[in-house]
């Protein structure tokens, strides 16, 4: 039964992937590029869903972990000229190592202390790149994944290549992640999140579990970071400001923080909001001030609305409502308690 489930999932991903690839041939360059961005955000948001949704650790610092991964990939590619696949692996490993350290430091923290610490991290890490020349300083490093292989034909543009790489990475990592989340590890994370003491009493080593969540989440974020740099072409501190961490958090909550199913919603929203904002600003004929800030406003307003009204995300909210209805029905159908004796 267990094996059947994961095969089923694999089938879903393969089919979905096929559809994506077909679609990529029919849309214009801009959409393909946006598709790549969506794929990157899917991975980044998934890392947050793992860390915050499953393991309950609020992190405002995923951007920093993405930066670590990106720099790792770029340095290895530029200095050692490794093939692209290997540089992505390095991104995952380096970021995971950073995540393990951070996780060990953060394991005793929770709530706002953890959030504040990760925020400090998000602000503090990217500027470090300015200190080491190997990291390229302010301008950053170039990160070039090379041209698509000739075998794919002349019409195969660079952006399509980005999309294929990013989408493939997203599909594979989502498949792997969804299986991990369904496993014992996923259950342990959930248990630790809802009641740490109870989880410990059940024999779960919550500290180790938390650090594992951080490590894994960081590795995934690192991959996203490397892919993001791929689409931009360079790795620099300005691509990884703490705003990135904040909007990732927004995207994760809009997707539904506690489940992986809605992850594309958040990613599409994050990529779509600047576009929508553009259209709205143009329609209203607003000043430049407003139009530059409208995307930010929409992002965060959406985050607030989501947290206030749909805190567990659309998918989970729906399930919860169904469950409540069923429970109410059951309570009503129970017999009324009788009086004991004649008192």
């Amino acid at each position: 039964m267990h094996k059947l489930k994961s095969v089923h999932h694999l089938g879903f991903f393969i089919v979905f992937g096929f559809i994506l690839f077909l679609a990529s041939n029919r849309v214009d360059e801009l959409r393909v590029y946006q598709g790549a961005s969506v794929a990157v955000f899917v991975i980044a948001i998934a890392s947050l869903i793992l860390l915050t949704g499953y393991s309950g650790q609020v992190s405002v610092g995923q951007g920093a972990l993405m930066a670590i991964g990106a720099y790792g990939a770029a340095v290895v590619r530029n200095e050692l000229h490794v093939p692209i696949l290997l540089s992505f692996f390095v991104a995952v490993l380096v970021a995971a190592a950073g995540g393990a350290l951070l996780g060990a430091a953060a394991a005793r923290l929770s709530g706002p202390y953890l959030a504040g610490t990760t925020l400090a991290l998000a602000i503090g890490i990217p500027p470090l790149a300015n200190q080491f020349s190997i990291l390229g300083g302010e301008q950053g490093l170039a990160f070039d994944v090379g041209n698509p292989p000739a075998s794919l034909g002349e019409d195969f543009t660079k952006y399509k290549w980005f999309f294929w790489i990013a989408a493939l990475a997203a599909l594979i990592s989502m498949w792997l992640l969804s299986n991990i989340l369904r496993s014992r590890y996923g259950r342990n994370w959930r248990a630790g999140r809802s009641n740490e003491v109870a989880a410990q009493l059940s024999g779960i080593n919550t500290v180790r579990s938390k650090i594992l969540a951080f490590t894994l989440s960081a590795g995934i974020a690192g991959l996203a970071g490397a892919l993001l740099s791929m689409t931009i072409g360079t790795v620099s501190p300005s691509a990884f400001t703490y705003y990135l961490s904040l909007i990732l958090l927004a995207g994760a909550f809009v997707s539904g923080i506690s489940t992986l199913s809605g992850v594309m919603i958040g990613a599409v929203v994050l990529v779509g909001i600047p576009e929508i904002a553009d259209v709205v600003a143009n329609r209203m004929g607003s000043s430049e001030n407003i139009s530059t800030n409208l995307p930010g406003f929409l992002n965060y307003a959406l985050l607030i609305v989501t947290v206030l009204f749909v805190p567990n995300g659309p998918v989970e909210q729906h399930h919860a409502r169904q469950a409540r209805k069923a429970a109410k029905k059951k309570i009503k159908s129970l017999p009324k308690p009788s009086m004991e004796g004649n008192t």
């Binding site: 925020l119 503090g124 809802s194 001030n289 947290v307």
Partner: protein, 302 residues
């Protein structure tokens, strides 16, 4: 020797501003049990209020007053409209402790977008009331200036006033009681909701002072993305954590300590550690003495 004195003075001045931010965070924490991640942004908005006043009156002191009043009112508004709703909705479930964090982060972003829309991204100036030229000792010039002295005195006076308010007045007792136990306070006839709003507006006013002094002590200019404000929240937060989050005295000590540590690190180790130093200090504190210098609680759970 001069360098040592300079470093100390810079540290104390910066630290007193961190202390202000820490106090404003502690005030909110004590009244609502929430860390308001938008606190520094609200201070930024208040600084814009002060700027507008400055442009019209050319007086720093009026600008400061306007900023503090505006900041206080705005904070009260946020508490009335936003926080009450939020806290009512997020009372249960695993999302309960996370919701205020995310919501205030969202608030942070919204305030930023709105202020940038209204005033744009350019640097605006606030002119200090006294000179920032250092005092001279013989041939050496200290970094310490009339302005820095003024800041220190102002912060000192404010802390004194706040302490008197909390310890010696009925309102102060009401504030403390509502923070420690809202139910008992309510049963004692205290209008707990009103008191909570008051706590927020006090914190908004104090934050506004931090924002104005921060601007004036630094470059004299500010913008939505000023580095100073970016770090103000984090520094205030760390200072509050060092101080234990529960007491005003702790916040002040935390701020001064943080200011001194960062100042010495930047001067004697490397100035490029500007961004990462606060993070390291925070980690150290959370490891060595998580309950803070003054705090008594055992676990660092919010």
């Amino acid at each position: 020797m001069i360098q040592f004195i300079n470093t100390t003075l810079i540290g104390i001045t910066a630290g007193s501003i961190y202390a202000l931010m820490a106090i404003s965070l502690v005030l909110v924490w004590r009244s609502t049990r929430v860390i308001n991640f938008a606190q520094a942004r609200m201070a930024l908005l208040s600084t814009y209020f002060g700027y507008e006043a400055m442009v019209r009156t050319n007086s720093f002191w009026i600008a400061l007053l306007v900023a503090m009043l505006g900041g206080g009112l705005f904070a009260a508004l946020i508490e009335l409209v936003f926080m009450r709703f939020l806290l009512k909705r997020s009372n249960s479930g695993p999302i309960a402790s996370v919701a205020p964090i995310i919501a205030t982060l969202g608030l942070y972003g919204v305030i930023r977008a709105v202020t940038a829309s209204i005033w744009g991204g350019q640097e605006l100036q606030i002119v200090a009331p006294v000179s920032n030229v250092g005092y001279s000792i013989g041939t050496e010039t200290l970094v310490f200036s009339p302005l820095k002295l003024l800041i220190l005195i102002s912060v000192g006076v404010l802390v004194l006033l706040l302490s008197l308010l909390f310890q010696k007045t009925n309102i102060g007792l009401a504030l403390r009681a509502s923070a420690f136990s809202p139910e008992i306070a309510s049963l004692s006839g205290i209008k707990v909701d009103l008191v909570r709003t008051l706590g927020w507006s006090l914190s908004g006013a104090v934050g506004a002072m931090a924002g104005m002094f921060q601007t004036v002590d630094g470059a004299g200019t500010f913008s939505p993305d000023s580095i100073g404000f970016t770090l103000l929240f984090v520094s205030g937060f760390i200072a509050a954590v060092i101080g234990g989050l529960e007491s005003l005295v702790g916040a002040v000590i935390g701020g001064l300590l943080l200011g001194l540590v960062i100042s010495f690190v930047l001067m004697y180790i490397s100035s490029s550690l500007f961004f990462i130093a606060p993070f390291v200090v925070l980690l150290l504190v959370l490891f060595i003495r998580p309950q803070g210098i003054i705090g008594v609680k055992a676990a660092r759970r919010a």
